[in-house]
C-alpha cells in the first residue's frame, strides 16, 4: 500500500490513490437525481417534444463535451446510464459474469460506430423526433441495466459498449479537475486499460498497446472526429437520408485520411496527433454550438458577446489541454520505459533469508544505513560489500588503512590483538577507534568511517622510559612503514630530540600493499595515505619528501642529501626498503615491461595499458604480489596469464592442495595460470612489447609483462658507507648494523640470515630499533610470517611453516561444499604453522596461535574433529566497553 505522500507525487495515480471529493451518499443522491431527470426527460420528449428536444439537443448535449474536457470524473460518477448500469451491482442482483473475450474486443468498436451513426442520424431523425430521442435515451438506460445485470464491474456498459465512452476517453485524458471513480469498491479488474481505474493513462495505454488492430480503430475514431463535427454542422437542410450518410462517409474518410497521412509524414509521437485532432474537433464543435447554447441559455440568438466569450473560453481550455496532454505523453513514455516486465524473486529466497533473521545489525553513522552482518564477519568486509567508501590494506591490522570509529557497541566486537593495538597507537586516534579489518562483529554495533581525533594530539608517550639524554638528533632514512614506525617510537620514548625523516618518494607514508589497486582503481593516491596530514607536525618530525640521501659519513655522523645539505645525527636508522628484484630476462626494460613496487610503477602500468590499448598481459610470479597484481590488471580489462616457476601458486605460503584450490578459484575469476613456467626473454619493437619467450621455448603474445619475483634490498648507500652487507644490511639482535650508532629495519635489514620483506616484520623491527636507538636494550627474535591474499573472495591466510618437517604432524580438514581448507602443522605439540582457505572468521585466532607457538598437545583430538575453539579461548586482550 502506498502512502498519501507518494500518491500525490505520482503523475499517474490510480483511482485508489486519488483524493475522494465527496462521501458516497452524496454521489448516490446525485445519481438518483440524474436517473430521475433522464426518465422525466423521456416523458417530456414524448408528451411535449419541443421542450424535451430543446433541453436535450440544444442544452444538455452542447454542454457535455465541456464537462468531459474539464471534470470528466464528475460525469462518470453522475451519468444516469452509469447509475443504471451499476444498480444491479449495488442491489446485489448482478450475475457478475466475466465478459467473453469477443465482447470485450469488439464492444468499443460497436460503441464508436453507434456514436458516429447517432451523430449522422441527428438531422434526419433525432433532432426533430421526441419519440426517437426518448427511445434512444430510454433504450440506453435499459441497455446499461442489462449490461450491469449480466457482466461484472463496469464491463457490461460503461467500460465497453457505451457510445459516449470513446469521446470521454479522448477528452477526459488530462482532466482539469480529477474526480476519483466512486463505484468500484473494490476493483474487479473487468476491463482493459480501464478509464475509471487510471484516467490519465487509459487513452495513452490504448494508443501504445502492443496490438496494432486495437490501437488502429481508436486512432481512426479521433482522426475522423473533426470531419464528423464539421460535417454535422455544415450539413445542408433537406438533404435526402442517403445523401446525408454519404456525405458523412466522405467527410469521415477525408478527416481520417488526413490523420493517417500526417501520421505517416510527420515524425511525431502518436498522441501529439490524436490530441491535436481532438482539440480541433472540440474547437469546431463550440464554434457552431456557441450560438445554439446562447439561444438555449439566454433565450435570444445573435448575442455576439456570448458566442465569442464561450468560444474564447473553450479554445483557451482546449489549447492548454493540448499542451498538457503533449507533456503528459512525454512523462508517460519516460515512465513506461522504466516499467519493465515484472521481475519476481523466487520463494526459495524466503527460507534462505529466514536463517539470517537473527544476525546482528550494524548501523553506519551518520547516514543511518543499517546492515545485517554475518556473525564473525569483519567490519571491513561488511562495509566493502555495502559499498561504503573505505580503503583496505593488509587486512591484518598492521597497515592502518581502515580506521573506523565505533560509536556504540564496542563490547560486541572481537578483542584487539597486539598488532592492531600497535597500529592504533601509531595512528593516534581516539579510544573509540578500531581497525575495520580486525573487528569481528558479534552483536549490534554503530560505526562511523571517520575516526575521531584524540583530544591531545600526540602519540602515546611511554612514561618512565630511561631515554638517553645525549641523543639529541635522530635521522631516519626511508618513509615506509619501517621508517615511520621507528620515528614514531623514538618520539614516544624521547620527548625532545630532533627527528628527521628523509624520503625519496614524494608521498607521505602510504599503503604500499595497496599499490596494485592503483592499477585498476580510479581513486589514485588519496585512498592509500595511511597517516593524517598533520601527523608529522603533531609528532614534531621533520619530513624531507622527494629528497634522496646521497651519502653517509659514519665518522662525522652526517647524512649528505641530494639538495647539497647535510644532516647531522647521533643515531641513524636505515629504512630505505627494497626495489623489485628482476631475474635475468633478455630484453627486460623494453616498453611494456614493468615491475610493481612503488605507486609510480602502478601509474605507469595503467597509463601504458590505456595508451596502447593493451589486451593481453603476462605476470611473472605467483606469489602474493604477483597474484594481486594479476587480479588488478584483469580488472583493468586485460586477459592475464600468470607464470609461476614452481609447481604451485604461493609456493612459500601454501602446500600442494591449498595451491590447487587457489588455482582453481583464480581460474574461475578469469586468470590463466601456467605452473612450472617462467620468462627467459621478451620480443619487443621500439614502442611496444610483442611476446614473451618462456623457459620451454614457447612464445606467448603479450602487450605487457609484469615481473613480481621478490625484492632486492636497497643496500648501495650502506655499502658505500662501509657497513657490513650480505644480501641486506646485516644487523644484530638489537638491530644494530656494524656501526653501533646506525640501525637498520624493514626490507633492507638482514637478521640471522633472513630478510623478511613483510610489513609486520618492518613494524616490529621499527619499534625495537627505535627503543634501542634512544637507550633501550630490546632484542629482536624474528617474526612469524603471516600472509594473506588481497584478491576478492579468496579469504586465505598462511602463517609460519606450511609443510611438516620430519617428526612434525599435520591436521588437514577440507570441506568442498563450503570451499574451505584448514591445515595445522604441529611440531613437538606446538602449533608451528597454519593454512586457512575460506575460513576468515578463524584467521586472527589461528595466526595468533602460530605466533605464540601455542601448545595444543592436549587438544589434538578436538582439532582433528574440526573443533578449533581451543585456539580462540586464549584471547590476548579484552576490549573495555
Amino acid at each position: 500500500m502506498v502512502t498519501d505522500a507518494a500518491a500525490q507525487r505520482n503523475p499517474f495515480p490510480s483511482y485508489t490513490q486519488m483524493r475522494r471529493r465527496a462521501p458516497t451518499w452524496v454521489w448516490r443522491v446525485g445519481s438518483t437525481l440524474t436517473i430521475a431527470a433522464a426518465i422525466t426527460l423521456c416523458v417530456t420528449l414524448v408528451a411535449k417534444p419541443s421542450t424535451g428536444l430543446r433541453l436535450w439537443w440544444r442544452l444538455a448535449i452542447p454542454l457535455l463535451p465541456l464537462v468531459w474536457l474539464t471534470a470528466p470524473g464528475l460525469w462518470r460518477n453522475l451519468c444516469p446510464l452509469a447509475a443504471s448500469n451499476q444498480t444491479p451491482r449495488l442491489l446485489r442482483f448482478t450475475r457478475g459474469w466475466t465478459a467473453p473475450a469477443w465482447y470485450s474486443e469488439h464492444a468499443p468498436a460497436v460503441g464508436m460506430t453507434a456514436f458516429i451513426l447517432l451523430v449522422a442520424s441527428r438531422k434526419p431523425l433525432l433532432n426533430s423526433s421526441g419519440v426517437a430521442t426518448a427511445t434512444l435515451i430510454g433504450g440506453s438506460l435499459f441497455g446499461a441495466l442489462i449490461g450491469g445485470f449480466a457482466f461484472k464491474g463496469k464491463s457490461g456498459w460503461c467500460s465497453s459498449i457505451c457510445p459516449l465512452l470513446p469521446v470521454q476517453r479522448v477528452y477526459g485524458q488530462t482532466p482539469y479537475l480529477a474526480v476519483a471513480n466512486r463505484y468500484c469498491q473494490p476493483c474487479v479488474g473487468c476491463a482493459k486499460n480501464c478509464y475509471d481505474f487510471n484516467p490519465r493513462v487509459a487513452y495513452l495505454a490504448d494508443l501504445y498497446d502492443s496490438d496494432p488492430h486495437y490501437t488502429g480503430y481508436r486512432r481512426f475514431f479521433v482522426g475522423a472526429f473533426p470531419g464528423l463535427t464539421y460535417c454535422y454542422f455544415t450539413l445542408p437542410a433537406h438533404l435526402g437520408t442517403a445523401a446525408v450518410y454519404g456525405r458523412f462517409a466522405i467527410y469521415l474518410a477525408v478527416s481520417a485520411g488526413s490523420f493517417f497521412l500526417a501520421e505517416t509524414l510527420l515524425r511525431v509521437t502518436v498522441n501529439k496527433l490524436t490530441a491535436l485532432y481532438g482539440a480541433a474537433a472540440i474547437s469546431l464543435f463550440y464554434w457552431y454550438s456557441a450560438p445554439v447554447l446562447a439561444g438555449s441559455l439566454t433565450g435570444r440568438s445573435g448575442t455576439a458577446w456570448f458566442d465569442w466569450g464561450l468560444r474564447a473560453i473553450v479554445w483557451s481550455l482546449a489549447a492548454a489541454w493540448l499542451v498538457r496532454t503533449w507533456h503528459k505523453e512525454a512523462v508517460f513514455l519516460q515512465v513506461g520505459s522504466q516499467a519493465s516486465a515484472a521481475r519476481k524473486l523466487d520463494g526459495g529466497l524466503a527460507s534462505a533469508r529466514a536463517r539470517r533473521a537473527a544476525d546482528p545489525e550494524v548501523t553506519i553513522a551518520p547516514s543511518g544505513l543499517r546492515l545485517v552482518a554475518k556473525p564473525g564477519a569483519t567490519l571491513l568486509e561488511l562495509l566493502e560489500n555495502a559499498g561504503t567508501e573505505i580503503e583496505a590494506g593488509c587486512r591484518m591490522g598492521v597497515c592502518g588503512a581502515d580506521p573506523v570509529c565505533v560509536v556504540s557497541g564496542m563490547e560486541n566486537l572481537s578483542a584487539i590483538s597486539p598488532d592492531e593495538r600497535g597500529t592504533l597507537d601509531r595512528l593516534g586516534y581516539a579510544d573509540s577507534t578500531r581497525m575495520a579489518c580486525c573487528a569481528r562483529i558479534n552483536g549490534p554495533v554503530e560505526v562511523s568511517v571517520t575516526p575521531e581525533r584524540r583530544e591531545a594530539a600526540a602519540s602515546k608517550q611511554i612514561q618512565g622510559f630511561p631515554y638517553d639524554r645525549d641523543v639529541r638528533r635522530v635521522v631516519v632514512i626511508g618513509n615506509g612503514i619501517g621508517g615511520a614506525t621507528a620515528a614514531d617510537h623514538v618520539r614516544r620514548r624521547h620527548p625532545d630530540c630532533e627527528i628527521d625523516i628523509v624520503a625519496d618518494e614524494p608521498y607521505p607514508l602510504y599503503n604500499r600493499m595497496g599499490v596494485s589497486r592503483l592499477v585498476h582503481g580510479r581513486s589514485a593516491m588519496v585512498g592509500l595515505q595511511l597517516l593524517p596530514d598533520e601527523w608529522y607536525d603533531d609528532h614534531r618530525i621533520t619530513c624531507w619528501l622527494n629528497t634522496s640521501a646521497q651519502g653517509l659519513d659514519l665518522n662525522r655522523h652526517e647524512v649528505m642529501l641530494g639538495t647539497g645539505e647535510s644532516l647531522g645525527y647521533d643515531r641513524l636508522i636505515l629504512a630505505m626498503g627494497a626495489d623489485a628484484f628482476t631475474p635475468p630476462i633478455g630484453g627486460f626494460g623494453a616498453p611494456g615491461t614493468f615491475v610493481l613496487r612503488r605507486a609510480g610503477d602502478a601509474f605507469a602500468i595503467r597509463a601504458y595499458a590505456q595508451r596502447h590499448r593493451a589486451m593481453r598481459a603476462i605476470v611473472a610470479g605467483g606469489g602474493p604480489l604477483g597474484l594481486e597484481a594479476a587480479y588488478s590488471i584483469r580488472k583493468l580489462g586485460l586477459n592475464v596469464t600468470v607464470l609461476e616457476r614452481s609447481p604451485r601458486l604461493l609456493p612459500r605460503q601454501l602446500d600442494g592442495r591449498a595451491g590447487d584450490l587457489l588455482r582453481k578459484y583464480l581460474e574461475g575469476l578469469g586468470l590463466r595460470i601456467l605452473l612450472g613456467s617462467e620468462p627467459t626473454s621478451v620480443r619487443a619493437t621500439d614502442s611496444r612489447l610483442d611476446a614473451v619467450v618462456l623457459s620451454d621455448g614457447a612464445q606467448l603474445a603479450s602487450d605487457l609483462l609484469l615481473v613480481a619475483a621478490g625484492i632486492s634490498p636497497l643496500v648501495e648507500l650502506a655499502r658505500k658507507a662501509g657497513l657490513d652487507i650480505r644480501r641486506g644490511v646485516v644487523v644484530d639482535d638489537e638491530l644494530r648494523t656494524s656501526d653501533p650508532d646506525v640501525f637498520a629495519v624493514g626490507d633492507l635489514a638482514e637478521h640471522d640470515g633472513r630478510i623478511y620483506g613483510l610489513w609486520p616484520a618492518a613494524v616490529e623491527q621499527g619499534e625495537i630499533a627505535a627503543a634501542n636507538a634512544v637507550g633501550g636494550t630490546r632484542t629482536y627474535e624474528g617474526t612469524v610470517p603471516v600472509a594473506t591474499l588481497k584478491v576478492v573472495g579468496v579469504d586465505l591466510m598462511s602463517a609460519g611453516q606450511c609443510e611438516p618437517d620430519d617428526g612434525d604432524t599435520a591436521i588437514v580438514l577440507e570441506d568442498p561444499d563450503q570451499h574451505s581448507y584448514r591445515k595445522l602443522v604441529i611440531s613437538e605439540g606446538q602449533i608451528a604453522g597454519a593454512i586457512l582457505i575460506g575460513r576468515p572468521q578463524d584467521a586472527a585466532d589461528v595466526a595468533a596461535a602460530v605466533k605464540d607457538r601455542r601448545d595444543v598437545s592436549a587438544a589434538i583430538d578436538d582439532l582433528e574433529r574440526g573443533d578449533w575453539s581451543c585456539l580462540a579461548a586464549d584471547a590476548p586482550e579484552k576490549v573495555a566497553a
Binding site: 513514455l333 524473486l345 545485517v372
Partner: protein
Amino acid sequence: MKLSSGVGAAFFDYGSAVVREPADEFGFLSGRPQDDWAKVLDHTEIRRFSAGEEIISAGDGGRALYLLTEGTLGLRLPSPHVQTLRTIEAPSVIGEVAFLDGGTRSATLLAISDGEVLRLRIESFEALSAREPELGRAILFDLARIVTARLRHTNDMIARAGG
C-alpha cells in the same frame, strides 16, 4: 483478453482482483533449490531500511545488483517534471542495468515502507561465480532475460511512438 499489454501495462495493476498471466512474469532464479539461495545470500549484504530512506541515488556509481526482499520502493527519475513514477514491491530484482554495464544509476529509489534489500556487488558476484560457475551462469541468464524483455518492450514502444 489480456487486461493490459504494451507500454501502459504497468499502470493497470488491478491488484488481487486479477490473476496475472504467467507469461507476464520473469522469474529470477525461480525453481532453484534453497542451497543455491543460501550461496547467493552468503555473497550479499543485507540492508534494512525505513520509509523515506534513499536506497539508490540517480547518478551514483557502485556496481551492484539489488534484491528487494521486503517492503516497497518508489522509483524516481532525475527529471524536474516527474516525482515518483511507480512503486516496486518485494520481491523484485532491481538495478540490473548498472550491475551489467557498470554505468551510473538512472533512477533514484526511495523507500516507501520499511523493508530489506540484498546487495550483490560485482566483485562478490565474481567470487560467487568463480566458486559456483553454474549458479553464476544462471544469474547472468536470468538477468539477460529481464534486460531482453525490457529491450523488446522498448522496441515496441519506439515502434508505437512513431519513431
